[in-house]
Amino acid sequence: MSMPFYVSPEQVMADKAEFARKGIARGKSIVAIEHQGGILLVAENATSLSKVGEIYDRIAFAGVGKFSEFDQLRKVGVRFADTKGYAYSREDVRGRGLANAFSQVMGEVFTREIKPLEIEIIVAEVGDDRYDDHKKNTIYRVKYDGFISDHPGFCVIGGNVDDVESVLKNDYSDGMPAGEAAKLARRSLDAGAERSSELDVASLEVCLLDRNRTGRKFCRLSTEEVQGMLNT
């Protein structure tokens, strides 16, 4: 009779984490950055498959890693948010609750399944000046194992977080104009990629959570609109 090999839980977790990290490291980066008029989400993405999406009135989602996995998570988030907003009220759908729910799902998969999710996500919630308790922007990052963290100002996920982050750390300031934030986001993504020329505008996927809109604050910017922002 053959004995099954004993593998320590530490080893199992370390192997899974290593596997997930490798998958994520292959992907390009995404930056979420706060500015005067809201939160800008910028992804290096030349394909027509979106990495950034709308969840609810003030909440956006961005994911890196395996497309099918984070897109499935995004849809689950939309279902969760729409059901909650229908059963209660639209103001009751909050970023923190949603980020926590994502964290639960990802943590659950990490411990129970053989293969962890090879993804990392951002949940961004823009403030609204109509209510005293909704004024602040919040950006959450959830990692492949469900680890959740809160990032004031900006947040980076994806392949080369450190290089991208170092540019943002140096140049980010609170209350930047939208155009400056867009330029900084592009510059930081440039630093994260190994290429000689500047990132082409057409290969950027840019979405905005616009503080000043009423109702659904999410909008996807066209290449012309992005160019216009970068020219300011």
């Binding site: 709308e54 689950v76 988030g77 059963a87 799902v105």
Partner: protein
């Protein structure tokens, strides 16, 4: 929040049916007989005009012979290019308009693009069909649905019956207890190339005519400052006629009648 629920499609209504049954009414548990005494919405109308489509509704809800509410809203924006106007049992009607607006937004978020106007009208038909058991018990939902078809560049409108039958109208339509009078009035003023202001004017006239003949229709209430809701969909999106504009139209109608000795 499960990563894989039992429903993986893009319809919010189906999601509720499959995974959140408790959020929908369970008509099978109500037993036989009809439900009495619930508020009913009365007259709503929709018409095409030169630039798009207009939808209007008075503000009265009645329960039997009593006023249930004087300022209920029966015309709802379901998305930036579409409007639903309700007549019938107010509770289920308003809820259906709410579900439809979540449905359209939900589809857009899941799929990354909006439904075609015809797709929206069709989805509403399915929801009305699902409401048939409740309709048999007296809680009928008979809405009008209208919107601007951004692909064909025209305004379009549909009426429904309680079985979910969906009928596209080329000109105008009105439903509810005062619908017949509103239609009659529209027939005299309507033309395919009507301008926006004229469309608002004949809509106010039609609601005024309906309120005159049908006791359950509210019309314009200058004393209380309660005005019909009039929404307009064109290529530029959706707008609502202001109370001032509606009041002005109404005063003109009254003046013309007074001048003609027809009060």
């Amino acid at each position: 929040m499960p990563l894989r629920g039992s429903y993986n499609g893009s319809s919010f209504f189906e999601l509720l049916q499959l995974e959140h049954r408790h959020l929908l009414p369970d008509v099978t548990a109500w037993g036989q007989g009809t439900v009495e005494g619930v508020p009913h919405g009365t007259t709503v109308l929709a018409m095409r005009f030169g630039d798009g489509v207009l939808v209007a509704g008075d503000r009265l809800a009645t329960a039997g012979h009593s006023v249930a509410s004087r300022d209920v809203v029966k015309v709802f924006q379901t998305d930036p290019y579409s409007v639903m106007a309700i007549s019938g049992a107010a509770g289920p009607c308003i809820e259906m308009a709410r579900i439809l607006s979540v449905e359209l937004e939900h589809y857009e978020k899941i799929e990354g693009e909006s439904l075609e106007l015809e797709g929206k009208a069709n989805k509403l038909a399915q929801m009305i069909r699902a409401n048939l058991p409740a309709a048999m018990q007296g809680l009928a939902v008979v809405p009008l649905f209208a919107g601007y078809d951004t692909r064909r560049k025209i305004g379009r409108l549909w009426k429904y019956d309680i079985t979910g039958g969906r009928y596209e109208e080329a000109e105008f339509d009105a439903t509810g207890s005062g619908g017949i009078y509103a239609r009659e009035s529209l027939k005299h003023g309507w033309a395919a190339d009507l301008g926006r202001d004229d469309a608002v004017r004949i809509a106010v006239a039609a609601l005024t005519a309906a309120a005159d003949e049908d006791r359950a229709t509210g019309g314009v209430d200058l004393e209380r400052g309660i005005y019909p809701v009039i929404r307009i969909c064109t290529n530029a999106g959706q707008t609502e006629a202001s109370e001032e504009e509606i009041a002005a139209c109404y005063r003109t109608i009254l003046e013309a009648r007074t001048a003609g000795g027809n009060l």
